[in-house]
Amino acid sequence: MPQSADKVLDHEFLFREPEYQSMLEGKKAFEFNHTDDKIKQIIEWTKTEDYKEKNFKRDSLVVNPAKACQPLGAVFVANGFAKTMSFVHGSQGCVAYYRSHFSRHFKEPTSCVSSSMTEDAAVFGGLNNMIDGLANTYNLYQPEMIAVSTTCMAEVIGDDLDAFIKNAKQKGSVPAEFDVPFAHTPAFVGSHITGYDNALLGILKHFWDGKSGAGEALTRVPNDSINFIGGFDGFVVGNMKEIRRIFGLFGVDYTVLCDPSEVWNTPTDGEFRMYEGGTTKAEVERALHAKATIVMQEFCCEKTTKYLKEKGQEVVALNCPVGVAGTDEFVMALSRLTGKPVPAELEKERGQLVDAMADSQAHLHGKRYALYGDPDQMLGLSRFLLELGAEPAHVLATNGDEKWAARMQAVFDASPYGAGCKSYPKRDLWHMRSLLHTEPVDFLIGNTYGKYLERDTGAPLIRMVFPIFDRHHYHRYPTWGYEGGLRVLVNLLDEYFETLDANTIVPGKTDYSYDIIR
């Protein structure tokens, strides 16, 4: 009997005990699997050029994609506004998924409601669901704003949010003046970053363009303040804190549009806070008058950027800057826009980051990396790797397009270490598996799902992409700013040293290289 009360065996070890091993062996008689030889043969075949070629030819099947659907981005956005309840119109299962997905990453509650449409709504439309849903949400959760988005069900049947919300207000679901911004977020268009864009645009339009006819459009009276839009960011908790610190050092009047960093970082002190922090309605309104907006992730905010420009704001669109040059651009943009010099403290931090990179670069120089994730994040991380003399050999974005690929190429071309590096728009992690087999790299940068690639190909995984379910609290630390760059550097180095130690740990065989000083 393997189990004991004194030393409880968990699944990790329990099933390795002989009783279980023999049971599992016996089970095979009923599984009728292929022969071991056949399995071995296919395993080997999946590692070949031939397999890769066939794999890259597929144009319909998607296997292990690195993207989610639009409403996830919309829920992220709604969470970034003060006392705002995210309301997704459509099937309820979707909302259960978004909430679980975020909670598994942030290890925090994620509040969001659904209009719970079912068969009858599929036939007659979801108007009644909107009417009852808004009333229930308003009464139960007492938000100051309800931000509506849609699942694909509501989009396929063509529900009209603007009309439905107006109708619900007429029926008294919520007071006429209550703010219910909305965005159509069809899951079959784009990805979660498109949903972020649409949802944020929906909120800005609501407040700036006259609240869907319920009020007057605001008139822009330009001032010297600066807006900041972060984009969909799995490290938002750490990054927003860092961004606010940087703005604070500049002493500039600024507004963060969409900041979920507090609601996903509440204390355990006996009280559950459904709402915490976030951009207030007053802040949204005054953001119209800003001189300029810094958009941290260009591809995540395409429509919003266009809209801001139409309003007369200057928009500085960055590609998720990570590391020295990227952060320099961000900081210099801030300096230019405000007319203030870069604060000495930041300059010192820059020097400290460069110092750390100089100390460590020899360990990373020439190392080849494969990366996947959102388009902007891939641009930012690739630039940082190139700064270190490392090579972002395969850079993949399932939700990246040709425009992104061209931008990646420009990044590669700008560095001698970019020669031979390649970008892969609209590809998935099964493509990446082929790449890692046929053109191996030293390290892989990705999210939790990358661990399957690590298992199959041996490329050590560095977790720096959303979602991260199987490591805790990474999201609490920044990747942006010089401080964030330091954090990213340490991540890269940790994995390098861990791998080196693991490769040299055999006593009497390889441990001559098991150095104590590195």
């Binding site: 009997m1 393997p2 189990q3 004991s4 409880v8 065996l9 699944h11 049971m23 089970k27 008689a29 009923f30 599984e31 699997n33 292929h34 056949k38 296919i42 999946t46 066939k54 794999n55 597929r58 144009d59 319909s60 099947l61 998607v62 292990n64 994609p65 993207k67 989610a68 659907c69 309820q92 299962g93 979707c94 259960a96 998924y97 598994r104 994620t110 409601v113 659904s114 209009s115 719970s116 079912t118 068969e119 599929a122 849903g133 808004l134 229930n136 009464n139 139960l140 694909c152 069900m153 049947i157 069809p186 899951a187 990805s191 355990t268 002190d269 006996g270 559950f272 298992r455 199959d456």
Partner: protein
């Protein structure tokens, strides 16, 4: 300190009345039917169930797709399950349920992979049948060892009028009667995961049992062949159950569906007895096999030694004296281990109050395990239960237990705030809410990344986990000392 039953009932009633006040009047009336207190002697728990969730209330429920792909089909390891429609559903449910299995993933097994048709606007406008055909071709080329394909419909499929049945038949024929199963589990169907289970069960009946697909798996039956039905092998649950059935002399010929294969499904009609753990998700196919193949089925409960013992005897009662004797041997063999576990943990857990809100069988099945540890379940409810679940629950719960069907976020928070249990067992969406409130919590869907909890080996882990949740020193730190003093 503890209340009398009558006091508890009065308190529950006041509590329910209070939460209902927050709803608009019409909605309060509807929710009132789902909340109640169990009255000893009644045939059910006195609540309505399996009814549409109210919009906008933050239901904890999922959808039919989750019930089919996520629960029933997903764990069948040598098949490829296509999340057919937009990318999200498959992405959020990707490898999230911890259905353990043995196999070379991506080669001969596929459970922890996300296959999707990733619908784009053109697929919505022009239909996705052509794309589905192409997808089957691509799967057959790149994953040649797959033993079958299932098409798990997401919402748009049923709305745009795709004919996935025709595509499945056509492609199956094209690939030498390869198993291809269309499943109409669009998320908008029904009121919860539950209809998805039913649809998935029916798809097995129609397309696996009665399908024209290849069946190539012969073996010689024995009088002791049983199939485990409704165990998804979360954290290895089916394994720590199977080992007991085998120890009592039975031969397990199939696992539905944790660590299961299509061959096991196909061979199940040869079983002498179906042993059913999750009644909610697989009673349909069990009833079907009883009607069509004359296979009896028996529900069992492998949580905690009291229920395991009872269940082993009930299962053995379907067989000869040799099996009955062996069942007694198994019970006797594990007695010392169980006693050691109880001796270790019961003194620390005695009298602790638990509130549950889970799916499937757990809102009732785990109660015995808590009671083995001296704990008391004071409130429970089903995410997607039906009245037959609430009937079965009466055998487990005590007079005066608070019952909440399809509880809303608002209600659950208020109930826990007022009842002040020592432990809440629910899901990931609830976990952090209650932990913030300073209430110890265990996820009772995923076993909070632990497990197995089934069987004797699992009970040791269960007891240890409940103890560490409740006894963690963390809960003494939630109030700052300068505030405690005040």
């Amino acid at each position: 300190m503890s209340m009398t039953v009558e006091e508890r009932k009065a308190t529950n009633k006041a509590l329910i009345d209070e939460v209902l006040k927050a709803y608009p009047e019409k909605m309060a009336k509807k929710r009132a039917k789902h909340l109640g207190t169990f009255e000893e002697g009644k045939p059910d728990c006195g609540v309505k169930s399996n009814i549409k969730s109210l919009p906008g209330v933050m239901t904890i429920r999922g959808c039919a797709y989750a019930g089919s792909k996520g629960v029933v089909w997903g764990p069948i390891k040598d098949m490829i399950h296509i999340s057919h429609g937009p990318v999200g559903c498959g992405q959020y449910s990707w490898a999230a349920r911890r259905n353990y299995y043995i196999g070379m993933t991506g080669v001969d097994t596929f459970v922890t992979m996300q296959f999707t048709s990733d619908f784009q606007e053109k697929d919505i406008v022009f239909g996705g049948d052509k794309k589905l055909e192409k997808i089957v071709d691509e799967i057959q080329e790149l994953f040649p060892l797959n033993k079958g394909i299932s098409v798990q419909s997401e919402c748009p499929i049923g709305l745009i009028g795709d004919d996935i049945e025709a595509v499945s038949k056509k492609k199956s024929k094209e690939y030498d009667n390869h198993t291809i199963v269309p499943v109409r589990c669009e998320g908008f169907r029904g009121v919860s995961q539950s209809l998805g289970h039913h649809i998935a069960n029916d798809a097995i009946r129609d397309w696996v049992f009665d399908g024209k697909t290849r069946k190539e798996h012969e073996f010689v039956p024995t009088p002791y062949d049983v199939a485990i039905i409704g165990d998804y092998n979360i954290g290895g649950d089916a394994w720590s159950s199977r080992i007991l059935l085998e120890e009592m002399g039975l031969r397990v010929i199939a696992q539905w569906s944790g660590d299961g294969t299509i061959a096991e499904l196909e061979n199940t009609p040869k079983a002498k007895l179906n042993v059913l753990h999750c009644y909610r998700s697989m009673n349909y196919i069990s009833r079907h096999m009883e009607e069509k193949y004359g296979i009896p089925w028996v529900e069992y409960n492998f949580f905690g030694p009291s229920m395991i013992e009872k269940s082993l005897r009930e299962i053995a009662a379907h067989f000869d004296d040799a099996i009955k004797a062996k069942a007694e041997e198994v019970i006797a063999k594990y007695k010392p281990l169980m006693q050691a576990v109880i001796d270790k943990y019961k003194p620390r857990l005695q009298g602790k109050k638990v509130m549950l809100f889970v799916g499937g069988l757990r809102p009732r099945h785990v109660i015995g395990a808590y009671e083995d540890l001296g704990m008391e379940v004071v409130g429970t409810g089903y995410e997607f239960g039906h009245n037959d679940d609430y009937q079965r629950t009466t055998h487990y719960i005590k007079d005066g237990t608070l019952i909440y069907d399809d509880v809303t976020g608002y209600e659950f928070e208020k109930f826990v705030e007022k009842v002040q249990p020592d432990l809440v067992g629910s899901g990931i969406k609830e976990k952090y809410v209650f932990q913030k409130m300073g209430v110890p919590f265990r996820q009772m869907h995923s076993w909070d990344y632990s497990g197995p909890y089934h069987g004797y080996d699992g009970f040791a882990i269960f007891a240890r986990d409940m103890d560490m949740a409740i006894s963690s020193p963390i809960w003494g730190l939630t109030k700052a000392p300068w505030k405690q003093a005040a």
